[in-house]
């Protein structure tokens, strides 16, 4: 409890600074929300996007960063299509935000639900979420090479990959892995990342590509083993969290002979046709959110890639990512026939 209270005290100090900063900013910006701001989560409760949205909501409420309140609303139907269509339909409404995951790109491609990022106004990239290749700690696979060789030698589909959802990020990575190894895996879709991790602990599947935050608790308990991370460079967090291992000790998949890189956007968008001042307001608001200790804690706990962007740079990044996903989905044969 001692550690806890120290953190609370630190929060209070930063809160005061943040509040002071907030009052200056509001003088500079002409626009401010005049009613409750809805924060749409195009995914179910308890997942990565939902957690991040609720942390942002909590930080804004705790540090009084906004005069109006913010509510988080889950619209998970149609692989998130419900949430994005809601934003698309709210043209010109500056009191609505949406947090995205990769389904911003994959859902319209896989299901033909008519929306795209162009129906929205990009606000800020908050972070990028990493993916790690995990196996059960009791499995004989100590390194990526062990597992890759086992997949290669087995009959097609012998090894089972558990993942979140279908034709989404986890399955995209699985297909890329199959291509790199030259052998089929059996992909089993589940509803949520936590469930996927537990299925691996229970040995119902052989591997997963869980995000760090989804697998960390079981890793620390000695039930899971990370093999490699699907990023160009190792993770930046160096505290020893699982025995003598830290996030930074996990090698990149590339260095292990699997040339696969995949990061997932955790970004915020608004409906199209909103005033420029409103976009500027939210860019500034989210910047303040990222400066709080709670946010730093979340980034640290989840070993996020803390790249952030906004404005034209962000728009350009989203555009590239859209093209890349189209390629990936096309290669995997996941495009809906209507596209």
């Amino acid at each position: 409890m001692g550690v806890m209270s120290k953190r609370w005290r630190a929060c209070a100090v930063v809160a005061a600074t943040a509040m002071a900063a907030g009052s200056f900013a509001s003088a500079a910006n002409a626009w401010e929300p005049t009613r409750t701001v809805e924060f749409i989560v195009p995914a179910g409760t308890g997942g990565g996007a939902d957690q991040m949205a609720r942390v942002i909501q909590g930080i804004i409420a705790k540090h009084h960063l906004m005069k109006q309140t913010m509510v988080v609303i889950n619209k998970a139907g149609g692989a998130g299509g419900e949430g994005f269509l809601d934003i698309k339909g709210a043209k010109g409404n500056p009191h609505k935000l949406v947090i995205t995951l990769s389904n911003l790109f994959t859902t319209p491609m896989a299901t033909g639900i008519p929306f795209s990022w162009k129906d929205m106004t990009p606000v800020s990239m908050m972070a990028l979420d990493e993916f790690v290749l995990w196996v059960n700690a009791e499995s004989p696979f100590k390194t990526t090479a062990d597992y890759v060789n086992a997949i290669k030698s087995g009959p097609p589909g012998k090894y089972k990959m558990g993942g979140t959802g279908s034709k989404q990020e986890d399955q995209i990575i699985t297909v890329a892995l199959e291509k790199a190894v030259g052998q089929k895996l059996t992909y089993v879709p589940y509803k949520g990342g936590g469930e996927v991790a537990v299925q691996l602990v229970g040995k119902h599947v052989d591997s997963t590509v869980n995000n760090p935050i989804e697998g960390v608790a079981q890793w620390r308990a000695g039930a899971l083993r990370p093999l490699c991370v699907f990023d160009g460079k190792p993770l930046p967090v160096t505290d020893k969290i699982a025995g003598d291992k830290s996030w930074a000790d996990i090698p990149t998949c590339k260095s292990q002979g699997l040339d696969i890189e995949y990061l997932m956007l955790r970004g915020v968008f608004m409906p199209s046709g909103v005033p420029k001042e409103a976009v500027a307001y939210y860019v500034d608001l989210l910047k303040k959110v990222r400066e709080t200790p709670e946010w730093a804690q979340l980034m640290h706990d989840g070993a996020f890639n803390t790249t952030t962007m906004s404005g034209d740079e962000y728009t350009k990044w989203v555009e590239n990512e859209q093209k890349r996903h189209h390629e990936l989905m096309k290669e995997a044969g996941f495009l809906a026939t209507t596209n």
């Binding site: 149609g78 299901t111 229970g202 804690q297």
Partner: protein, 502 residues
Amino acid sequence: MEGIGDLLHGFGVVLSWANFLYMLIGITLGVIIGVLPGLGGANGVAILLPLTFSMPPTSAIILLSCIYWGALFGGAITSILFNIPGEPWSVATTFDGHPMAQKGQAGEALTAAFTSSFVGALFAVIVITLAAPLVAKFALEFGPAEKFSVFFLAFCSFVGMGKEPPSKTIAAMMLGFALAAVGTDTVTGGLRLTFGSTELLSGFDFLVAVIGLFGIGEILLTMEEGLSFKGKATGINPTVVLQTWKGLPRYWFTSLRACIIGCWMGITPAGATPASFMSYGIAKRSSKDGEKFGTGVIEGVIAPETAAHAAGTSALLPMLALGVPGSPTAAVLLGGLLIWGLQPGPLLFVEQKDFVWGLIASMYLGNVVGLAVVLTMVPMFAAILRVPFGIIAPVILVICAIGAYTVHNNTFDVTMMLVFGVVGYFFKKCNYPLAPLVLAIVLGDKAEEAFRQSLLLSGGSISVFWSSSLVTTIMALGLVALLWGGISRALNRAFDRRSRTA
């Protein structure tokens, strides 16, 4: 008995005036949330979650989990008084609870419901206290095949449970499966049965279905039958609680069985709704008053309420120990844990002793406080039946509409609720049971998902459903439950013949 020492430490953490106050506030809010259909525990906790960020985590989780207990208690009230379940797990409570209210025994039914809820929760907390690590390990055994077998058991124990012929039960269940299939298919990621409509993307929510089928359906029926409650309004009787308590110990075995079913269904991720149905079904079959079930026997209230509460409480264990929520409310609480900087998982019990044992201690105290709060209100709740139908019916309609709207903040759901109301009316007119329809909407897509995941894992071989002793046992139990009517008749006949020849 390390658990006991930890628990005493937990009581030390919880027993402060501030925490006790949070407990009272939480329970009261929870009861209100539970009474309002649609505004379930999950929504209530989600709305209040941001308010708790500036509290210490232990106080916050006490407040939020007490809302959860309160909602579990509150769900029974409208089921008994108006035949309108506030939560899906209260559907089974209407079977005998409402007939009791019609006979003028609303007070007795409410007391029995609240007391059983308390017993169920207490049993589950004791299981958590004594066997948390063991139970967590058991939960890990559940892959898709095992999950499917549990759902299969739940469906099987249902067929032939009601007074309606099994063919009607199966027809209602099949309609439920069809409705559950609407929306996104998790396994292929494609859309099914949405016919290009945006509103149908998220499928039919069982809460909207429950509110419509029962709430609106009931009001339509009552209007047809002469604009008044069939219920006999009784005088306010302040001693009803004590009088009912005298009769309860007789049903200790029903309670115990319901506790075990509830814990089992809560830990395996089936949840409180199937637990309440299963418990009711088994109680009906094994009770010597089985014939009278459905006409207002107190045992028919005790069985589902005990199981629902035991399941709701034990569902928190997988959340704490594994990070996998056993119910939607637990999923929101899980989000809360992460915001407070607590990482659910096996190490939570080691690293955050204050928090975990504080929470478990608050389960004991919260339920005691909750029972006291709701029992004192029993005479008041029972008196609601004295309000004339002409006044209360519009109120119920409005509350139902608000409830349906809050599920997804969507006006389309209100229309959907009205459609379900008409469906419910015709179901009742034609003597089709509603409960199997609800069960199939609640569990249909989960069962389908587990079935298809199992087949993916086995490479398409159906033998996966008898591949291990655990899954084989559950499947066999399911088949026994399905064929029980036939088996018991055959046994009876064989027995008769033998006694005649002897």
